[in-house]
Amino acid sequence: MLKGIKKGALTRSLWVYHVAASPCNNCDIEILDLLTPRFDVERFGILLTGSPRHADLLLVTGMVNKKVLDRVLRVYAETPKPCVVAAFGSCAISGDLFVDSYNFAGPLDKHIPVDVYIGGCPPKPEAMILGVVRAIEKVKKLKDL
């Protein structure tokens, strides 16, 4: 019962922290689309927060390079569990056009557990919403709640 309430509340109130792990900045701009009147994800309780301490969903954008890797790991460790991680954009998923870069530290899921993949360069808002839906499904399946 208590678990049900916790889980239900979490699925209806995902707060997003946006981790910019050396993106080209296009993904970051696209994220804000979701807050505009056309898509308005606050209808589902999704808010952008300024601190990883408040976050439930980490949106990691960009190709994780060697310098920023430490920070990504640290932000992940700082986020109170239960939380969901989304690899946002082709960069975070695979490295995209930066795969051969000397300072590419490998795809995000090599370093932290990734729950949702949102593809695209940058992803379309519809793809992002699909990603959010998948994130919510993922939360429903979380065991350690």
Binding site: I5, K6, G8, P37, D40, E42, S51, R53, E78, P82
Partner: protein, 325 residues
Amino acid sequence: MNLSAGWIIFYLLVFPGFLFTTVVGLVYVWVDRKVTARVQFRVGPPFLQPFFDFFKLLGKDTFVPEGAPRSIFFGAPILGLASVSILSTVLLVSNFFPSQAFGGDLIVVLYLFAFIPIILIMGASASSNPISALGGSREMTLYLAYELPLLFALATIIVKSGGQLKIGDLLNWQWANRPFLYSVSGAFAFVSAFLCIQAKMGFVPFDIAEAETEIMGGIVIEHSGPVLGVLKLTKAMLYFVVSIFLTIFFWGGFRMPVKGEWWHIFGWLKPIAILVLMVLIKNTNPRLRVDQALRFFWSIVLALSVIGFILAAVARSAQTPILWL
């Protein structure tokens, strides 16, 4: 003032204290978010959203930052919650059951009101984060800025009512004569108190201490899980408390100016109207810098409240007190 302990506990914990204020406060947060969304041509969150947020935060982990004193880090939010509960109890008991209020409750309300920023500052400085320390120092400056005009505004209505220090007596005076808002000095006092409350709530243009886009939540940046939940709940209850604060002191409480008991139900719309006004101001203004806010409060707002105070004194010193002044 001869209440049994059981009733006092009931007042504090259920109605009109903790439980009631929690529920209404969370509803007020929804009103805030919905109105904000409508102003921005969005749909906005569902009615239960603040409740979901609160329960979600209760179910999450809490981290205590390294070097943070645990007692203050956990103690401050709980003290805040307790003081807001007492505040709403005192205010509402004197509105609904005036015979059970105690003398000088106005002073208690003022103290508890001053206590809340202090608790926020304590919580912020206990989290050993430079950004929240910055937020705390801004909150302190802001507090020094708005406290004096707020006191002058309250002094205005005390003078106008002929020196009543009991909230119930202030209300009785307003019911017998007219609400303070509908007089010149009272209107001055209301405007300045309203701006002070806007700053106390940390609403734009005075959200300097929380400044989401600048210092990322400032005071609460290190708080997570249930601790954050309790802080948010305190804030939510404060939404309700400041609205009834302005309603009771300036707008004649929950009574409506018409005959018949049932009309007073509509009195509950008064605090909501005040809240909506605050939210509209919040949504149509940019943030001030802390020095600009200080200057604003110490010049314009202070001047407004002092003018109100002088007018009230003049109105009172006439042979028959002039009601409209």
